[in-house]
């Protein structure tokens, strides 16, 4: 009796994943292809596979200038955008599931600002942690992100035990502006690092090169893996912490793990690209609509689609007013802020509109 249903269900899931992967691949190609010099998909395929599988000698005979453009400029930018987008999207999904709050994302919760303060402080003070070396910036940024989320959640709980949607968002916004003033303070006190800080603050994935990809990658892998295994717990926690506890979820442990993993992802993303808002809001929301709200699937699907989204957003940012570039945060905010408003209005109109 139930078998056909399960099968269609799985078939459905298979199409969800296939579609998402195809979208991501397409975005990577498009992002690499377009720019001041257009490059054909075929050339891109040859050059990339030449790099990945050198024994096939696929890239032989391609223009070395093109190779340089793709491998040194466009591809690192696309990959970085993908990593940042994926990271922001799943940390948004995790925050939302955990806090049962559809408006939560690293940006609205103030986590991004926290990470920014950490990063700016590193640039401002010019410090290098002895054990972290070149990873000082992301490590400090992640630590600041983790501290911020625990302070925000703790404060929200202090204000309102039930941690309603508005309380959490208000707390996040208060902390955002509070932390923002620290950044302003550091900028006004700064001398020669000004250019570096401003450059970083604008938020961009351009001109970063492979170094930044290497910087981001380990944290990305850790965060994504941690969250991948908590899908079922997140499912239980959407019914409230207490209900989750009654269902046998080890709530305290899971909560700390999920908040930390999401903060690691946010911190790492902010460290390499500055604050890019609303990705963590828009992508999980759309993914829930299309794929359903089972977090076991929602998390990996958010990674794929978040990556694709930010690659395309970055493409838009650098081509729309070419030859100059828009900050990528402007593009995501233009899409994200209206979405925030729509979700808010729907919520306010009551539960029975699904």
């Amino acid at each position: 009796m139930q078998k056909p249903y399960i099968q269609t269900f799985l078939a459905n899931k298979a199409t969800h994943y296939t579609g998402s992967v195809l979208l991501l691949v397409f975005s990577v190609f498009l992002g690499t292809s377009l720019g001041s010099v257009s490059i054909s998909f075929e050339a891109i395929a040859r050059i990339i596979s030449g790099q990945l599988l050198p024994f096939l000698h696929m890239s032989e005979g391609t223009d070395p200038t093109l190779q340089a453009i793709i491998l040194q400029i466009r591809l690192p930018r696309v990959v970085l955008a993908g990593l940042v987008g994926g990271a922001l999207a799943i940390s948004g999904a995790a925050f939302q599931g955990l806090l049962k709050n559809p408006l939560a994302d690293p940006y609205t919760l103030g986590v991004s600002s926290g990470a920014s303060v950490g990063a700016v402080a590193v640039l401002f003070l010019g410090i290098t942690l002895p054990f972290a070396g070149s990873f000082t910036l992301p490590v400090v940024s992640i630590a600041a992100a983790i501290c911020t989320i625990f302070i925000v959640v703790g404060f929200a709980r202090l204000v309102d035990r039930s941690m309603s949607m508005t309380t959490i968002i208000l707390t996040g916004i208060i902390f955002s502006s509070f932390l923002g003033s620290f950044i302003s303070l550091m900028i006004s006190l700064t001398g020669e690092e000004l250019r570096q800080i401003i450059n970083w603050l604008l938020g961009s994935v351009g001109n970063r090169g492979w170094d930044y990809v290497h910087l981001m990658l380990p944290f990305f892998v850790i965060g994504v893996l941690l969250l991948m295994f908590t899908g079922q717990e997140l499912n239980a926690m959407t019914f409230g912490e207490e209900r989750a506890k009654q269902l046998g979820v080890h709530v305290e442990r899971q909560k700390y793990m999920i908040l930390s993993a999401a903060s690691i992802l946010t911190g790492a993303a902010v460290a390499v690209s500055g604050t890019i808002g609303f990705v963590g809001l828009v992508i999980p929301h759309i993914c829930r609509k299309i794929f359903g709200s089972d977090h076991r699937h929602l998390i990996p699907l958010c990674v794929l689609n978040g990556s694709a989204f930010l690659i395309l957003a970055d493409l838009l940012a650098r081509t729309i007013v070419s030859p100059s570039e828009l900050p990528i945060g402007v593009v995501t905010a233009l899409i994200g802020a209206p979405m925030f408003a729509v979700i808010l209005i729907r919520r306010r109109k009551g539960g029975r509109s699904s």
Binding site: G97, N235, E242, K245, L247, G292, S293, S354
Partner: protein, 488 residues
Amino acid sequence: MIDIQHLYAGYDHDILHDLSFSVNKGEMFGVLGPNGSGKTTLLKALNGTLPIRGDVVIQGRPIRQMTAKETAREMAVLPQHHDVSFSTTVEQTVLIGRYPYQKGLFKQWTKEDYRIAEEVMEQTGVTRFRHQSLLSLSGGERQRVFLAQALAQKPGILLLDEPTNHLDFSYQKQMLDALKQWSLKDGLTVIAIFHDLNLASMYCDRLLLLDQGSIRALDEPEEVLEVGHLSEVYQSEIHVHAHPSFSKPFTNVVPSYQDQKPEAVISPDHLEVSESRVYYKSLRPLKCYSSAVLNPGFGWFEEFMNIQVDHSFRCEDPAGYLITEAERYGCQTYRTVGMMTAAKVTDASTVFVEKEDFTVLVVVTAGTGNAVDVVHNNRHMQEAVPGTINTWVFIDGHLSEQAFAQSLMTATEAKVKAVTDMDIKDPLSGTTATGTSTDSILIAGTQQGTVLEYGGTISSLGRAVGPAVYKASKEAIARYLDRKEEGI
């Protein structure tokens, strides 16, 4: 099944103080108490969402030694409020109930999980919503989905916090019937908080009455739902009666507001005798106990009619006949007590007694054509023939239930005395009759003013009712006999 030993629990300070009790397997156990008495705290303490002192032992194992998943396999909770923040489908919601049985890193559902989800959705009647979002369901439907989720945990113990809170009465009944069935048939232990004392009374094997975090009473419903306990714990006036159709106690609150209706004065002025009927209209409803044709038994009524019918009147549905008659006279049938008689209603006899602190009005119509001696009644046919002594007793006083029964006896004895004194004979046995085969009686009280606890023959009420009924019956019978002699 579950033992609670010296349990203390609370938030900033202890709300529960030293509770010890145990609940048996398959028992339906109700938790009662006013707001803030610690009912929900008790439930949270039992399911481990609150830190506790003391012990909760499930099947010999202290709960503090069990992991969260182990506890969830033994015990499921249906909370009072549900957090629904995302559009999860019903099926997904129910499947999450299988979480305590999950193994491995990726936590896929097994065939068994799907089978059990299917089964509990069927049990709770939510299968048809399975692909719908929770957000699109009504409060009552959501409640059933969460019940299914709790049942999917396959628990031995089900904890419910006001399970019928959002449900209309038919779903309340459905849900409680189902819970009762599962407890009787499958040995499911149900511990439920109730606000509705009557539902608790009807469905629970035992009740626990909490008062400020301590046990006030713990016993069968009959013992716990007792006026003394309830009015003290709830600080409110409450009445306990027998349930009209179920062998459990039945409680009710009595509003203390004053309405604008005039006082119910019992007076012969409200009586109206015409060729076709005797009619009494009270200013406000009277509490009645009667053997009338229309609206017999206990009830509150304000119009009373005794309709004259022909000697040869035969009717399959006398109540239906009286309803039409009542409507013809413009009475509201749900407010009217109706009787009928073959005797001339214009011969009705009225006696009005004014005592110091209460008044009694007796109205009797009499016809003794079918006189019967109660001792020799087996000679009579089963069929009821009109020709009747109908007695109405209106009392301006507050009668206890006991007084109703005693007044009934007193009035009947007085009637029998009148019939024998008038030397009415049972035509078949030739002995002295005690009444007729279709006599009817009504006792009605205003339920205000003097409290009349007793209505026996030597009580003050009985002293008014007895002679008044005797006098009125005798007079009515005399008029009937006169009319018969005149040959009309």
